[in-house]
Amino acid sequence: MNANASLSNSKSLNVVAATFQKIFDSNWLDFAVGHVNPLFSVERTKARVVAFHQETPDTLSIELQPNQNWAGFQPGQFVPVRVDIKGTIHERCYSITSLPGADTIRITVKRQAGGLMSTWLHQHLVVGDIVELGAAGGDFTLPALLPEKLLFIAGGSGVTPVFSMIREALKRRADADIVLGFYARNYADFILLDELEALREKHANFRIQLCITGERMFAEDLVGRFSGKQLKQYCADFADRAAFVCGPAGLIEAVVAHHDEAGLPLSKEYFGLPPVAKTPGASAEVVYLKSGMTVETSEPTLLQAAEKAGLKPKFGCRMGVCNSCTCTKKEGVVRNVISGDIDDTPNSLIRLCISEPLSAVKLDM
């Protein structure tokens, strides 16, 4: 087929597709094709659950096969996972523990006490289920040029993005000099340790140091929370290493304090809820993603905050009835001033006129 013929073919295909879109919107097409292929979607990224692996009693790895809309990821990034739990779609971000280039992606989910999504994934998800994915995100990745020496500090399930980054680093350079300081409360929390140890067997310059805050069982492990003194014990040349930390807020704050004092750069990613800081009368930070603005506000509702910031948001009744001011809250915690309900879910629809910010909030406007 010569170039001209294929060009006119694709043009006529575009005309057909455009005509079809006039008659059937993307939801309709998803519905129609979904009868034969539930993974199909014109615009949305969906993934089928293909396998499970129970890493520890409370940690489950889930292997997912995404559809054609999946745009890939960098090691260290997370993927937003959306599932329908009792009629509402909930979203949580999970770090990807597999490497790019494969047909499937893997997430490793630790069941959090009282965690809505993690509990549901552990109890209800079965092979063959279809979930929805967002685009991979996060800046916690390896630089394009791999540094000579690397230091990773991971706490508990914070090892998940680190795991992917270590695999990628060793893939790029088999003799990469990597130290991993792995922190946990007890031995059951060292998730993916068997895979990390298998990597250590194959790569002489990759060292793992386990640090336990609970009961120590092996002499080579260290006891206690992170400290500069402890770090020197297992990584004397930390000042020469590109450093990455991921885990609960306590661990990150300790490492940040240490590196800041030493004047050393550090990449970090928080695992866990953002702090809800707002006291009455205090101000909250609002980020308007589409307008590219960040504002500190002490206005009682997000609608008033937006107007004070000089934006002209759509509004109507200003009493929570007409839905004109509805907007997507990407992240953050808000309170419904009429009902008192708290909304801390990412990617949820809120009415600005009756929403009071309780933490830093990011709005899709």
């Binding site: 005509t19 779609i89 979203e91 009493m319 009835v321 509805t326 009429i338 629809l349």
Partner: protein, 370 residues
């Protein structure tokens, strides 16, 4: 008399309430809404997904039958089924989803702000004229454009002019072409008559409306007849009939919502000091319910509970029936008239209005319900 006193001295069917009573009234309705929303979840999500499946499968079935429409039974069944599909898409699905009743699902397919329905009226215009203007300013004279849609005189407070002699003809025209005339509503063409708007402005505002009109016209009157090949005529006439069925039905139900005998309108002044409780009262006094069975409720998109819909536009409409029991009880305790009746009776009072106010009537000195 102040506007406030005027407002609350209207129909004798309603007891005049003190400000404290009005606040308590409002609080009871707030509590009712909250208790229902607290229990909204999986059942309602499953319900609306099933409604959408019903709309889609009945559309497929209707259109398929019309392909065989050369046989009269297939044509009748096809046009009927397609008409039902369009009605449910318009009322139980589209209208309710666009109110944001299912926003809590966090499902982009049921997001009130982005949902689009299968009629020529653009979703954005509808959200503005209906969700915002009509629901906030329900039955307020000179503000709620739904009072007469700019072409009909239905209340004595509307100033008479010779063009209203055509009331019955305009109403009939509106009924037959409802999806098209509703699409044009936001243009407020009557303002051009009075010189308050230019044709240039109209042409600009018409652009997105025209685009949607062309695409829907293409779908029903060009595309489907074309793919029927030699059997295009039954498909074309069937689609016309299905749209007509939907137009007549939606017109009748919607007109029964606010134009029955006991429905009241309100002066613009009342908005200046209106409290939340007074807003609830105005919604009740401006709305009327229709009594029918479960299927009737479904086919009206639960607008058979127009009162509950106006009190709670963001609550999933499938819950209105259960809420109506409590609303009736609250109204009774506070001495407020709960306007409800069988469809034929309510509709006959609407027809009465259409004819009566085509003729000049004396402007009322107080705000009496017609």
């Amino acid at each position: 008399m102040t506007a406030f006193e005027n407002l609350y001295k209207t129909s004798q069917k309603n007891r005049v309430l003190s400000p404290a009573e009005i606040d308590a009234f409002g609080a009871e309705l707030d509590a009712l809404r909250q208790s229902v929303m607290d229990s909204v979840g999986e059942r309602e999500a499953t319900y609306i997904r099933n409604v959408q499946k019903f709309v889609r499968y009945s559309e497929i079935g209707g259109r398929a039958l019309l392909m065989a429409g050369i046989f009269p039974p297939a044509w009748l069944l096809g046009a009927g089924l397609l008409g039902v599909s369009k009605i449910v898409d318009n009322m139980e699905l589209g209208h309710n989803v666009m109110h944001g009743q299912y926003d809590w699902m966090n499902d982009p397919a049921f997001n009130g702000n982005t949902f689009d329905w299968d009629t020529v009226c653009t979703a954005d215009n509808w959200r503005h004229t209906h969700n915002y203007m009509h629901h906030t300013y329900t039955n307020v004279q000179d503000v709620d454009h739904d009072i007469g849609y700019g072409v009909l005189r239905l209340f004595p407070e509307q100033e008479w002019s010779p063009r209203f002699l055509l009331n019955p003809i305009m109403a009939g025209f509106l009924a037959v072409t409802f999806q098209w005339t509703l699409a044009l509503q936001s243009l407020e063409l009557e303002k051009v008559l009075h010189g308050d708007k230019t044709w240039k402005q109209v042409r600009e505002e018409f652009k997105p409306i025209g685009a949607k009109m062309r695409s829907k016209f293409f779908k029903d009157y060009v595309f489907f007849p074309l793919i029927a090949g030699p059997f295009f005529l039954p498909v074309l006439t069937g689609n016309i009939a299905a749209n007509l069925i939907r137009n007549l039905w939606t017109f009748s139900i919607i007109f029964c919502g606010h134009f029955t005998e006991d429905a009241e309108t309100f002066p613009e002044d009342c908005l200046k000091t209106e409290t939340r409780g007074q807003w609830y009262l105005r919604q009740i006094r401006g709305s009327s319910n229709l009594e029918g069975g479960r299927w009737f409720d479904f086919m009206t998109g639960n607008l058979s509970y127009q009162i509950e819909h106006h009190l709670f536009p963001t609550v999933p409409a499938v819950r209105y029936k259960e809420m109506s029991v409590k609303v009736r009880e609250i109204c009774q305790r506070y001495g407020q008239h709960y306007n409800s009746g069988p469809f034929t009776k309510q509709f006959s009072t609407v027809l009465k209005r259409i004819f009566r106010y085509s003729l000049p009537t004396a402007k009322p000195t107080t705000l009496a319900a017609a």
